[in-house]
Symmetry: D2
Subunit: 369 residues, 4 copies
C-alpha cells in the first residue's frame, strides 16, 4: 500500500484482507473514573468513511472531564467508547464511495459529525447542528492506532507545519472561530484564560492582525507561554486588577474585543467592564455552573455584543486556519509543551491537572516522536 494508490481503486475491499485485526486504544470502559488501555478491533470504514492510521493526537480538557467522570460526562458518555477528538492521521483505507481523498494522504479531522440536513447545516452553520455527534465522545475517537471518520470531516493538513501542530488543528480551530466571530484586525483584543485554546487564540489574534493582544490568567507558567505566543502584554489576575491594567495598556480607550477562554465568571465580568462601548465578547470557555451578571451596567448600557462559540465553522474556520498555517503567519509550537507516548495517557491527565502544561500531544503505539 502506498500513496500512489489511485482513489478509484476499490481499496476498501482489497486492503481489508491485509488490515490488522486489533489495535491498542484508550477506552472509557466503564461508568466510573479513569480509562483503560485495551486491545480493540480495528474499525472498518463504512460508506463515505476514511480509515486513518493515527499519527498524533492532542489531549483536551474534555478528556479530563471524561476521565474524572464528572456530571456532564455521566450524562453524555455511553461506555465503552474510545476517546480522542484531536488528531492527525494517514489514510490507509477508503470506505465505499469516497472519491475526494486517496490512500496515503495525511488528514486532520473536524470532530463534529453533523446531520447535513437541519436548518443549521443547511445555512452554513453546521457547528450548531441539532444532531451533532462528536468523535471520541459519542463515537469512537482517535486515542488509538486507527480511527474511522467521515471523509467529509477530513482536512488535508498543511505540509509545512510540524506533525504535532497537524495533530491539534481541531482545538486550534476553536481559537480561530472565536477570534473571527467579530472584528479582529487592527483591534485591541484580550484573551482571558491561557489554557491551550487561549494560547492558540493569542497566536491567532497576532497572526490575524490584531493591533494589541493582552492575555490574562492566574498561572505564571501559562502567562509565560502567552508571552511566547507573542502576547503584547500579560496580566496575572491573581495579582493585578484586570480592568485597570487594560485601561493603562489601551490608553484609557478599552478593548474592542475579548476572547473568553476560561469559563470563569469574573473573567466574563472583567472582560465586559474592560470593553469599550459597542465592543464584543466571544465566549468559548465553559463555565462550571450558571453565574450572575449585572446585565444593565455591563452589557445593555454599553451596547455590547456577546457571542456563544462552539466548535468550528464548517468549514470556513478550517480555510482560515489553513491559510494562516500554510502561509507561515501562525506558529503555535510554543503552546505545545509536551509530547509523550499515548501509552502514558494517565500521566498526561496528571500533567493537565497540575496546570503546568500547555497542549499535550500523544504519540500512538508504533509511532516515533
Amino acid at each position: 500500500m502506498n500513496a500512489t494508490t489511485p482513489a478509484t481503486t476499490p481499496v476498501s475491499r482489497t486492503q481489508a484482507g491485509t488490515r490488522a485485526r486489533t489495535m491498542k486504544a484508550v477506552v472509557k470502559a466503564a461508568a466510573a473514573p479513569g480509562v483503560e488501555i485495551r486491545d480493540v478491533p480495528v474499525p472498518v470504514p463504512g460508506a463515505g468513511e476514511l480509515l486513518l492510521k493515527v499519527l498524533r493526537a492532542g489531549v483536551c480538557g474534555t478528556d479530563l472531564h471524561i476521565y474524572t467522570w464528572d456530571r456532564w460526562s455521566q450524562g453524555r458518555i455511553k461506555p465503552p467508547v474510545t476517546l480522542g477528538h484531536e488528531f492527525v492521521g494517514e489514510i490507509v483505507e477508503l470506505g465505499a464511495g469516497v472519491t475526494e481523498f486517496k490512500v496515503g494522504e495525511r488528514v486532520a479531522c473536524e470532530s463534529h459529525i453533523v446531520d447535513g440536513h437541519c436548518i443549521a447545516c443547511r445555512t452554513g452553520n453546521g457547528h450548531v447542528c441539532e444532531n451533532t455527534r462528536i468523535l471520541g465522545v459519542d463515537v469512537n475517537g482517535g486515542f488509538a492506532e486507527y480511527v474511522a471518520v467521515p471523509a467529509t470531516n477530513g482536512w488535508r493538513v498543511p505540509p509545512n507545519i510540524p506533525i504535532e501542530v497537524q495533530g491539534i488543528m481541531e482545538p486550534l480551530g476553536n481559537a480561530v472561530h472565536t477570534a473571527f466571530a467579530g472584528d479582529l484586525s487592527a483591534c485591541r483584543i484580550a484573551v482571558t484564560g491561557c489554557g491551550p485554546i487561549g494560547l492558540f487564540a493569542v497566536g491567532v489574534a497576532r497572526a490575524a492582525g490584531a493591533a494589541q493582544v493582552v492575555a490574562s490568567d492566574v498561572a505564571p507558567y501559562r502567562l509565560e507561554l502567552a508571552r511566547k505566543m507573542k502576547a503584547d502584554a500579560v496580566i496575572d489576575v491573581s495579582k493585578e486588577p484586570f480592568v485597570e491594567r487594560v485601561m493603562e495598556l489601551t490608553g484609557g480607550r478599552g478593548l474592542d474585543g475579548v476572547l473568553e477562554m476560561s469559563g470563569n465568571p469574573q473573567a466574563v465580568r472583567d472582560g465586559l467592564a474592560a470593553l469599550r462601548n459597542g465592543g464584543r465578547l466571544s465566549l468559548l470557555g465553559i463555565p462550571k455552573e450558571p453565574f450572575e451578571l449585572d446585565w444593565t451596567r455591563l452589557f445593555i448600557f454599553k451596547g455590547i455584543t456577546l457571542h456563544g462559540i462552539i466548535g468550528r465553522r464548517m468549514y470556513q474556520t478550517w480555510y482560515q486556519m489553513d491559510n494562516l498555517l500554510r502561509s507561515g503567519r501562525l506558529d503555535v509550537t510554543p503552546a505545545i509543551t509536551h509530547i509523550m507516548p499515548m501509552e502514558r495517557f494517565d500521566d498526561a491527565i496528571q500533567l493537565l491537572r497540575s496546570g503546568n502544561a500547555g497542549k499535550v500531544v500523544l504519540v500512538p503505539w508504533g509511532q516515533q516522536a
Copy 2:
C-alpha cells in the same frame, strides 16, 4: 412668525422680545418621590439649539422610576430638572448658527445629547457615546410648554402620521433599534414583554417583514394590545409555558430572534431556550438586578448572539423609522391608549402603575388634544 422666516435671519434675538418669560413644567424639584408642576423660566436657545413649543409628550417607564425616586434615580438625577424625553414640538426660535431648520417646522427629538468626538460617536455609534446626557434626565426636558434642544437632535416628523405618534418617536426608535439589531425579514420573531416599547416592536417586526411575530406578557390587557398591533400569536406566560408554545407555533423549528423588552430574567432564559441554534436575542428591557444564566446550555452550546441595546442608532434608526412611518407601513396608534393633559401628570403615573395602559401621551398647557 411663520414658516417662511429665512433660517439665516437672526431670529433668536428678534423673537426673544416676544417670547413668554415663564411657562408651566413638570419638575423633579427635590430628592424625594413625586414631582411638582411649577412655573419656570422659558429656556433661551443657546448656539446650535432649537427652542420648541411642545405639542405632545410621551410618558416613559423611566419617568415612573424618577417619580418613585428609586435607587437608580437617586444616583443619576440632580433636582431640580424638568422631566420628559419623548416629545414633538414646533420650532419657535433658532439659536445662533442654526441653518438646517427654520421656525415653524415640526420636529421630534433624539433624547441622547452626545459629545460627538468619542470613539463611539466618531464611528457611527453615538448611541453608546461615553458622555451621553439625556433630555429630561440630565438636562431639562419636554414635560413643559417649551424645551430647548440641540438642532442636531431634531428630526422633521413625517407629516402623514397622527401628532400623538409624532410625539413618541423616541421610544418607537428603541423598538426599531432592537428589531434591526439582527436578522428580521422573513424571520420568526418573539417579542417578550408588551409594555409600550414591546407593543411598538410587534408593529415594527410586522412592518419590517418578519414572517411570524409572537408576543408574550403576563397581562391580558397588554396581550390584547399586542393582538391589535398584529402579533400573529400571543402567549400569556402566566398561564402557558413559553418554550412549548413557541415550538408549537414554529413547527418545532424555534425562533430566529427574540426582542426582549421586559427585563425579566425568566423571559431571557425562556427566550434563549426557544431560539433555534445560531439565533439572536436582543435585550432592551432593563433587569431590576443582576441575574443568573445557564450560559453553557442556553448560550454557548447553541451558538447564540446576544445584543445589548440602548437608545437609537444616530441616526440610522431614525431613517428606518421615518421610512416605515412615512410609507404608512407602520401604524402604532393601537399602542397609544391614553391622551391626557400634562397637568394631570400624577394621574398618568398612577395609570402606568396600574398596568392598564399602553403608551400614555400628554398634551401641554394651552394645546388642544
Copy 3:
C-alpha cells in the same frame, strides 16, 4: 404506493417493478432551434435521489434561449436533454439511502446540483459551486412526467400556497436571493425589469418590509402586473426618465437599493445614478453582451456596493422564501399569468417571446390544471 410508506422501506427496489417504463418529455433533441416532445424512459432514481411525478413546471427565459439555440446554449447544452428547471412534484420513489423524505411528499427543487466539497460549498456558498450542474440544462429536467433529483435538492413545499406557486419556487428564490443580498427592510428599493423574476422581486420586497418599492420596465403589460404585485409606483422608462422620477418619488433622497432584473445596460446605469451614496445594486439580470460603465462617477465616487447574484443561497434563501410563503406574507399569484398543458410547449415559447406574459406554468400530461 401511498404517503404512509415508511421512508426506511427499500421502496426503490420494490416499486421499480410497477413504475411506468416510458413517459412524455420536452427534449432538446438536436443542436438546432426548437424542441421535440418525445417518449423517453422514465428515469430510475440513483442512490440519494428522489423520483418525482411532476405536477407543475415553470417556463424560464433560459428555456427560451435554449429553444432559440443562441450562442450560450450552443456552448453549454449537450443534446439530447430534457428541459425544465422549475417544478414541483410528488415523490413516487426513493433511491437507495434516502431517509429524510418519504413517498407521497410534495417537493420543489433547487436546480443547482453542487459538488459539496469545493470551497464555495464548504463555506455556505453552494450557489457559486465551481462544479455546478443544472437540472434541465446539464442533466435531464422537469418538463416531463417524471424527473429524478438529488434528495438534498428537494424542498417540502408550503401546503398553504397554490400548486402553481409551488411549481415556481426556483425562480422566486432568485428574487429572494437578490432582495436579501443587502439591506431591504425599511429601505427604498427599485426593481428594474418586470419579467417574472422582477415581478416576484416586487412582491418579495413588499413582503420583506421595504418602505417603498418602485418598479420599472418598458412594457405597459408588465408594469400593470407590477402594480398588482403591490409596487408603490411604476416607471415606464420608454416614456419617463428613470432617475428624475425616482428622485421625485423619494423626495430627492434617492434609492437605498436596486434589484436589477433586466440585464439592460441603461437600467444598470440609471439604477446607479438613482442610488443614494452608499447604496447597493444587486444584479441578477444577465446582460446580452459586455457593456461600458462610467465607473468613477456612478460607482466609485458614490461608494456603491454591487452584488453579482446567481441561483439561490443553499439553503438560506429557501428558508426565507418558505417563511414568507408559509406565513401568507407573500402572494405571487398575480405574476403567474398563464397555465397551460406542457404539450403546448411551443405555444408557451411564443407567448414568452410576445412579452405579454408573466410567469407561464405548464401542466404535465395526465395532470388536471
Copy 4:
C-alpha cells in the same frame, strides 16, 4: 506659546497679534497648467477651526491632475486655491469654541470637509457626504506654511512613527479603507497597481493579517518597492499573465479579495477573473474613462461583490490606521521614496510623472527635513 497652553484660553484672539501676516504657498493661480509659489496671507482660523503650522505634506496623483489641468480639474478647481490635502502640522492657534485640542499638539487631517447632516453623514458614512469639500481642492490646503482646518477633521498622530509617515496618513487611510471594505484576515489578497496607495495597501494587508499578499504593476521600480512592503509575491503584468500567475501562487484556489489601485480596466478584468467565486474586488483606483466589462462571466456567474471606495470612513478608518501604526504592526516607510523642500514642487511633479517614485513628501519653508 507652548503645549501647556490650556485649551480654554481664548488663544485665537491673543495670538493673532503675534501671528505672521504672510506665508509661502503652492497655489493653483490660474485656469491653466502649472502652479505658482506665492506669498499669501496666513489664514485666520474660524470658529471650530485649528490653525496648523505645516510640518510635512505628501504629493498625490490628484495634485498631478490639477497641475496638468486635465478635464476633471477644469470642472472642479476654482483658482486661486492653495493645493495639498495630505499633511501633518502643529496646532498654533485655536478658533473659537475649540475645546478638544490644545496648542502645540501635532495633528494629521482628514481632507474631506463634510456637512454633518446629510443621510450619509448621519449614518456613519461621512466619506460619501453629498456636500463634501476637499482641502487643497475646493478650499485652501496644506502646501503652505500654515493651513486652517476644521477641528473635527484633526487627528492626533501616533508619536512613535516618523514625521513623514505622520504626513501621509490621509492616503494611507485610503489604503486602509479599501483593505477593510471586505474580508482581509487569513485571506489571499492581491493589490493591483503599486503607486503609493497600492504600496500602502500591501503593507496594510500584511499588517492586518492577510495570509497571502500578491502585488502587481508594470514598473519594476514599483514592484521592487512592493517587495520591500512585504508582498509575498509580485507580478509584472507587462511580462506575465496575471490570472495564471495568481492561480499558481494560490494553488489553483484563486483570490479572496482584490484591492484595485490602478484604475486600469485590464486590472479590473484580471482581478475579477482571478477571484474565487464569491470573492470581492474593492476599487479605489480611478479609471481615466468609462470601460467595458463582461458582467455575466466575470461578475454575475461568480457571485462577486464590488465595492466603490472613496476617502476614508470617518473616523473608523482613522482608528484602524492609528491602531496599526501605534502598535508598530504597520511600517510604510519603504513606500516613502523622496523627501524634498516644498519649494521644489515642480520637481516633485516631474518625479511623479517619471514613475520612479513612491510617495513624495514635501518639507515646508523653514522646516528641517
